[in-house]
């Protein structure tokens, strides 16, 4: 009993304090709202993505139940229904497949749905009409209707060529229901009536057995859920052994892999965790700081509470109750704002990824509740962890110390007392030095948000449009096979006929048409390359490349991509060594050869050739095995990825020779790809005319235009700028809020001290100046720390993470800090004035009387 009432006293005290400390309330609640917004936005985006992928996988699989029994009998259905672990049990009866000619692009199953739920479970519940009841009724998806060229109208006659375990028969059904077909689904479903199913697929009498009895018709497909999706496989195994023991005739089971495959790839998970930690850090910083500062300011009253008998446990509880109250007020706002902004951001992300069906990604109520719960938990945890230390400080204060407490360090150094004159600056500096701990906390927390903003900005800025686009494309257009990198045989690479090339040349507004010819051949080694090969062989003795290297050494040859190009292409080459001289090169005596890729992409082995070496090509297709041709190496250079075959040998060559020489060496006149440039302003026209050629249905070539890549990329950058910008905006806001709080609290908690200084002769102007100097010190210290820590962080962490991204050019910048510092300086000039003005509304005497 006593315990309860004493709790009441403490919470009453907590509420009193809350009411008397409005400014702190606002700042704390604001920061809790911000933290909660961040968490909510993050979890709602993450949740939508994960849930969406799962939904989409389910639609692909064609079912939302966690597990199922394949090809069983009605009695098995009964058994599953009776089991206590299963729920939502549904069944379908297998009839056969529809094999109309119109369905050659997708498979169509004919089944009987046990009930509405069975149809729903496979995402095939009619949105118009009903499930079949009469013998000749059928319900199908719109995709089936479309494939048959039938209208979406009930009563339409649907012709079906039915294949029941190999027996084909023709039928005409009446459409009794249909639904929006799911393109991603592996098969389209058609529901027939029970009467029809009974006739064509009567329930078998024997257990299903693929080996001696390959008949599917009439077997039941039983799908069901468990209470939760944890360890579905284990539960299913347990279920099977419960129902069938160890017997041979246990049915096949299917586990819905929408539940089992990891829905998010590891990059997303790591990214998510990093984001959560960042948000946690940001939230922790400001909330900790506010509590720390305010508790330090109120330490006298805590001391007093102790003097009159409050235990430290009780004081701690009081602070915790306050924190909880702040949460109760702040979190709902945070949730609402967070979910709204999460929705907006998610839309932006969906637009850039533009591959998702909106249906899968709609946020369900269940998901919404989960998001809210998770964000609430995260926020609450952040707040509670943040106020732990301040709680301790408040609780462990000794009553006497607290009564004299004024945030100063005990050790005052002996100083030269004669020469100093006092100025607002010197007093300010003195104050900062004497309350070092507070100074450090404030500066560090400001620094952290600055550094975070700066790092984020550096990363965002590093995203390099040119790098991205040039990796994808050179020139304005490239025309090539649509799956060039998956092709293996050179004949198939060469698709663009001389006639097509002719057509491309006649397009108005074309500035340049450069065909790229390609053949596969061999490089024959002479002394020097062979020697280098030996060295390489030794060096890579223990690696995967060793095999290819010894092979090459033994044969004296390596497989080689031979490119024949016009001299326009030379302009897009970036030689690693040597100089490309187009006129000399045109003579046909010179070749450009690659530096060598070995192992990982960035790990280049030494080149086998150096400029001036002789290089021998052989075995061009259409050329005698023994015919060889010699070239002098003019330069070492890689073919740009966009116009290469886009596939690599583990260890292979790449030789670029003039088109004319190439033609002499081979009889294949088809080009692999064409690089094109348009005149200025003609871009769209040229694009249209190229597409006229490539969009023909029998065309296997596609066109890639620089414009589409630019657009694609700008969507991408827009997205990350939006997301990153929002995040850094909030972080900056948190930092500034933090700063304002520190400065304002610093002034208000020293109300009496300031009044006293005023009483003994420090003028209002001097006091204001002193306070400003304190702010300036914070700002300056923060700037210095941010630059140092930001620089370190950038070099140690950011570089290593972003180094792997090909579209990333790292350039460190202090820009955000440089932008923030004047803002902080401005704030440190304005806030003290305003705050001091506010406390000056009280007379000096009144302020002196105050506690």
């Amino acid at each position: 009993m006593t315990k309860v009432s004493n709790k009441k006293v403490i919470s009453r005290l907590a509420f009193r304090e809350l009411r008397s400390n409005r400014r702190m309330n606002i700042v704390v609640i604001l920061s809790i709202v911000l933290t909660c917004v961040l968490f909510t936005a993050l979890t709602s985006i993450g949740g939508s993505l994960i849930n969406g992928t799962q939904q989409e996988t389910m639609r692909q699989v064609g079912g939302d139940r966690m597990a199922g029994l394949k090809c069983v009998l009605p009695e098995d259905y009964e058994k599953v229904c009776e089991d206590s672990t299963t729920c939502d049990v549904v069944y379908r009866v297998i009839v056969g497949n529809a094999v109309n000619d119109a369905f050659k692009n997708f498979s169509v199953e004919i089944n009987y749905a046990g009930d509405e739920n069975a149809a729903k479970a496979s995402f095939c519940n009619q949105t118009t009409g009903k499930l079949p009841e009469n013998y000749d009724e059928i319900a199908v998806s719109t995709l089936v209707l479309d494939a048959l060229g039938l209208p979406h109208e009930l009563g339409t006659v649907v012709p079906v060529t039915l294949n029941v375990d190999g027996e084909v028969s023709e039928h005409e059904f009446k459409l009794c229901g249909y639904w929006q077909g799911e393109k991603v689904a592996m098969a389209q479903e058609c529901w027939v009536s029970k009467a029809f199913a009974d006739k064509y697929a009567p329930t078998p009498t024997k257990q299903f057995n693929t080996l001696e009895h390959p008949v599917y018709a009439g077997y039941w497909q039983v799908d069901f859920n468990y209470a939760n999706s944890w360890d579905i496989e284990g539960k299913t195994n347990a279920l099977i052994s419960r129902l069938y023991g160890n017997s041979e005739n246990a049915p096949d089971v299917g586990i819905n892999w929408a539940y089992t495959t990891s829905n998010a790839d590891s990059g997303m998970v790591v990214g998510g965790i990093v984001m959560i930690l960042v948000i946690f850090a940001a939230g922790y910083l400001i909330i900790y700081n506010i509590f720390y500062i305010n508790i330090s300011a109120n330490i006298r009253s805590y001391g007093l509470l102790k003097t009159i008998g409050t235990t430290s446990m009780q004081i701690r509880r009081m602070v915790r109750v306050q924190a909880a109250v702040y949460c109760v007020i702040g979190i709902p706002f945070g949730l609402i704002i967070g979910i709204l902004s999460g929705k907006i951001l998610f839309k932006a992300i969906m637009v850039t990824m533009n591959i998702y069906s909106a249906a899968s990604y709609a946020i369900s109520v269940k998901l919404l509740v989960m998001i809210c719960l998770a964000s609430t938990a995260f926020t609450f945890l952040t707040v509670m962890i943040s106020c732990r230390k301040p709680c301790k400080i408040a609780g462990s204060v000794s009553p006497i110390e607290a009564l004299r407490y004024n945030e100063t360090n005990i050790n005052a150094k002996k100083r030269d007392k004669k020469t100093r004159t006092i100025s607002p600056l010197s007093v300010a500096r003195n104050n900062m030095l004497r309350s070092r701990k507070k100074t450090i906390v404030v500066v560090l927390s400001l620094t952290l948000s600055m550094v975070l903003v700066n790092t984020l900005f550096t990363v965002l800025r590093g995203v390099d449009m040119d790098k991205y686009v040039s990796a994808q494309i050179v020139g304005d257009f490239i025309i090539m096979h649509d799956k060039v990198s998956t092709l293996n045989y050179d004949d198939q690479h060469a698709l663009i006929t001389p006639e097509q090339l002719e057509y491309l040349n006649t397009i108005d507004g074309v500035r340049q048409v450069s065909p790229i010819y390609f053949r596969r051949g061999k490089l024959v080694f002479h002394e020097e390359p062979l020697e280098r090969l030996n060295t390489l062989c030794d060096k890579y003795a223990d690696t995967d490349e060793h095999g290819s290297l010894t092979n090459a050494k033994d044969n004296g040859t390596i497989p080689t991509d031979i490119y024949g190009v016009t001299d326009d292409v030379l302009n897009v080459l970036e030689p690693a060594d040597g100089k490309i001289d187009p006129t000399k090169w045109q003579s046909g005596k010179y070749a450009i050869v690659n530096t060598y890729y070995l192992g990982a992409e960035d790990e280049k082995g030494e080149p086998l050739y150096s400029v001036g070496d002789t290089l021998t090509l052989s075995s061009m297709k259409g050329m005698d095995e023994d015919t060889t041709k010699d070239f002098e190496v003019m330069a070492l250079c890689e073919m740009p990825y966009a116009i290469s075959t886009q596939s690599y040998y583990l260890f292979g060559g790449q030789v670029i020779i003039p088109e004319s020489t190439y033609s002499e060496m081979t009889d294949n006149r088809n080009a692999m790809s064409v690089m094109m440039n348009a005149e200025e302003n003609c871009f769209d026209d040229v694009d249209k005319q190229i597409r006229y050629m490539t969009d023909r249905s029998d065309s296997q070539v596609i066109v890639k235009s620089k414009q589409t890549y630019l657009e694609e990329f700008s969507d991408f950058t827009k997205m990350i700028k939006l997301v990153g910008g929002t995040l850094s905006g909030i972080l900056a806001l948190i930092g500034i809020l933090n700063f304002v709080n520190a400065v304002v609290t610093g002034i208000i908690s020293r109300k009496r001290e300031l009044a006293m200084m005023n009483a003994v002769g420090m003028t209002g102007g001097q006091l204001k100046k002193m306070l400003m100097w304190e702010g300036v010190h914070y700002a300056a210290l923060t700037a210095v720390c941010s630059v140092i820590i930001g620089f370190l962080l950038d070099n140690v962490v950011v570089k290593s993470i972003t180094g792997d991204l090909f579209f990333f050019t790292h350039h460190f910048t202090f820009m955000p800090i440089l932008i923030c510092v004047p803002i902080l300086l401005l704030l440190s000039a304005v806030i003290p004035s305003v705050a001091y003005q506010t406390i000056c509304r009280d007379s000096v005497v009144n302020r002196l009387r105050e506690n």
Partner: protein
């Protein structure tokens, strides 16, 4: 010569029901070099009067003249500067700047004015007040009485024309009280300072040239100098 003079000084705190007339039509005049003690019951308005005299608070009505100047015609900034040049204050409690050590606290007003510190004099004051050993300590390392003494030292160090002290000996034992009082008197005479001091201690009040008695905001005795 009259160095301090009030005219119908009235201070009313609050409004309506919670209205308190802390000072009601007080007329007071103090001559240069005089040592006056203000006595009265708790809540009678002593501190209020002293604050007005020092220009710390503005009266509801009435005037305060310091060396013939109506101080409330001054703007806040000017009033503060005027105060630090003319008046030394000792408050009833919480007197010191917590971030400055004892010595720095004492010379604070002098340095604020950018003046050189008269070290000989300051050291003398520090010596008499028994603070010589603790010049480098911070206020929170001092006892209440020690803090009070530092405040007195600060009030005297700038050699102000007027010293206003609100129970300066409230925290001191009688021996130290006597010493401090003597110091006040001696320096007062030496620099012809005017001292106005609030006290509850009759014995100390008796050491003054004049006793001003206040009751319920009215000066009931000693408003004019003794002749």
């Amino acid at each position: 010569m009259e160095v301090l003079k009030t005219e119908a000084l009235t201070k009313i705190y609050g409004e309506g029901e919670s209205k308190v007339t802390a000072l009601d039509n007080a007329n007071l005049s103090v001559r240069q070099g005089e040592f006056a003690a203000i006595v009265g019951t708790s809540g009678s308005g002593k501190s209020t009067l002293l604050h007005m005299l020092g220009g710390l608070d503005r009266p509801t009505s009435g005037k305060v003249y310091v060396e013939g100047k109506d101080i409330f015609t001054l703007k806040d900034e000017a009033l503060t500067i005027f105060r630090r040049r003319k008046i030394g204050f000792v408050f009833q409690s919480f007197n010191l700047v917590p971030t400055l050590n004892v010595y720095e606290n004492i010379v604070f007003p002098i340095q604020l004015d950018g003046n050189d510190v008269d070290d000989k004099f300051v050291n003398e004051v520090i010596g008499i007040l028994g603070l010589a050993d603790m010049q480098n300590r911070l206020p929170n390392q001092l006892s209440g009485g020690q803090q009070q003494r530092v405040a007195i030292a600060r009030a005297l160090a700038a050699k102000p024309a007027i010293v206003l002290a609100d129970e300066p000996t409230g925290n001191l034992d009688s021996k130290t009280s006597q010493d401090v009082l003597s110091l006040l008197k001696v320096t007062g005479q030496k620099f012809s300072q005017t001292i106005v001091m609030i006290t509850h201690n009759e014995a100390i009040a008796q050491m003054a040239d004049r006793i001003i008695r206040i009751e319920d905001g009215h000066i009931i005795k000693g408003g004019e100098p003794n002749d």
